[in-house]
Amino acid sequence: MKIVVAVKQVPEREAALRVTPDGRGIDESDVEWTMNEPDAYALEEALQLKQRAADAGLGEAEVVVLCAGPERVQSTLREALAKGADRALHVVTPESGEGSLAERGSLDVARLLAEAVKGEQPELVLTGLQSDDLGAGQTGVVMAELLGVPHATLVLQVEFAGQGGGGRRIKVRRELEDGWTQFVEMPLPALLTIQSGGNRLRYATLMGIKRARQKEMRELSAAAPAQRVDEVVRVSPPLRVKQTEMLTGAAEEIAAKLVERLRFEVKVL
């Protein structure tokens, strides 16, 4: 059994962001990068599935981690290898300009990833439900459509459901709105987008980091040209809709000011 996990590298959550001079993107020059957290949950689910497949006597599963982007994304792929992925695929795109991630829409990026997945023929493709940077939440579902496989989104839990209809099947529990969940069964191969909270994330161990250096990281060229159907006209910080009064000073002064407000204005003390 083979599982491909598609991950994205995104700016650190706390990163101070600047808009590019042309006003249409994020200036990447001082950005610290990290693995998109929902994708980290997808990787975790894949690593646990590998263990469960072994425990259930379904044989050795291989976890292949996949990422598209410039040179920098190799640090995120290494992190995935250190956590336990078996090997990595890096779809290399230019740093900037034509063919770079910024020039590609969500359909373009999904095409690059789907091409790489086709070369692997996995039973299962996992990815996070959305990215923390652009938040489109589409890459997984678009890949499923491009690959011609069934999918489920917002998945909390994955089980093997045995044979049926000519092949192995899986049963997943997916999150609906307002606290409801639902089981969905489907044949493999399939694609799942993973919701956070189904598992606890593991950390890479020192041994894992050491081993990761020996693992295969294969570079693939980004063959598909960018064919964006939409464009980003401008990017800017949002206008504040509410007048926020900012309190400053030492902690004790701030506390005194807050308590005064809580007592006389908000009237909760």
Partner: protein
């Protein structure tokens, strides 16, 4: 008929329907209807709407929808649409779009839409412009621009659809368009049979279930202290527990805290948790991703303590403190206790 706006309506989830209560429409689809009507009026084109399901079940819904200012209400009926599946919805809407030829298709940005609309867009050679918070008209000839949030609300990005002869698909964020702006009127119902085949549907969904009933009801709380990722470690929760106790407040959290198992799920506030409207919401180390804001922006007063001055929580805060919560929170607790 062609070149207009088509709004895809969504009914309430199976679970919600079973527990009864209120209208049949998912709240955000009424907001999407308002957005679609406004967009059509700006462009001087007609607006239509569609409802999908098993024919007999959707007939009354289509009739109700026809009492709005729309050109056509499409009743997309098929036995294979009795239960939602991504495959069924994608195939049915692909066929409806081929028939109705809209230029814009507006969806509510719900979990269900997120599950199938990207596949539908791909099948049409398009990309969904998802989670839109505003529509602006610009240029000559006038065309719509769509505002989306980047970096969990830290930036706004303005998108334009540019594929010649294409169809522009967009979904609107909950609470971004006013449901009460929907215009009444009269329109005709047209039945559309997508003629689905059973083998098109590859997934087998089961009945929705709800976890054990929630024992903590935050919706009645007068004062809530909400804690987010900024708290760093589980051991540090003591700081906010002490503050909550001093204030006589309920403790709540954003999703990452509950995902990590530091607080039970029933204390989660936001789109996947509870919706609260206290007199005071004191947000500690919460950045203010939209998923959290939708659950607490009804609070009368919001106070936010966060070290990141650009955190979106400050956009909904009445009083903000940019600073180290590990200094400010204990100081506040001490001062309250006097």
């Amino acid at each position: 008929m062609s070149a207009g706006v088509l709004v895809v309506m969504e009914t309430k989830g199976a679970g919600e329907r079973r527990t009864g209560g209120g209208a049949a429409w998912h709240r955000v689809s009424t907001e999407a209807l308002a957005a679609g009507q406004t967009l059509a009026a700006e462009l001087g084109v007609a607006c239509s709407a569609a409802v999908l399901g098993e024919s007999a079940a959707i007939a009354p819904l289509a009739a109700e929808l026809a009492a709005h200012r729309l050109e056509t209400v499409w009743a997309v009926g098929d036995d294979l649409l009795a239960v939602y599946t991504a495959d069924g919805w994608t195939a049915a809407l692909e066929r409806l779009i081929a028939q109705a030829e809209p230029k814009f298709v507006v969806f509510p940005h719900t979990y269900q839409v997120r599950d199938y609309a990207p596949a539908l867009a791909t099948r049409l050679g398009e990309a969904l412009i998802g989670d839109v918070t505003a529509i602006q008209m610009a240029g000559e000839p006038r065309e719509p621009l769509f505002v989306r949030q980047w970096m969990q609300g830290k930036l706004n990005a303005v998108y334009r659809h540019r594929k010649p002869g294409g169809v522009c698909l967009l979904s609107v964020q909950a609470g971004s368009f006013r449901a009460d702006a929907v215009q009444a009127g009269q329109s005709q119902v047209r039945e559309f049979a997508p003629k689905l085949a059973a083998e098109m549907i590859r997934t087998a969904p089961s009945e929705p279930v709800r976890e054990a009933a929630q024992t903590v009801d935050l919706s009645a709380a007068e004062v809530i202290v909400g804690v987010g990722r900024g708290i760093g470690e589980q051991e540090n929760l003591k700081l906010v527990e002490d503050l909550a106790q001093a204030l006589g407040a309920e403790l709540a959290a954003s999703r990452p805290i509950c995902d990590a198992g530091w607080l039970p799920l029933e204390r989660q506030v936001g789109s996947s948790g509870q919706t609260v409207a206290p007199k005071l919401y004191l947000a500690v180390g919460i950045s203010g991703a939209i998923q959290h804001l939708v659950g607490m922006k009804g609070a009368k007063t919001v106070i936010a303590i966060n070290k990141d001055a650009d955190a979106p929580i400050f956009e909904v805060a009445d009083i903000g403190v940019v600073g180290d919560l590990f200094e400010v929170v204990p100081a506040l607790t001490r001062t309250i206790r006097g």
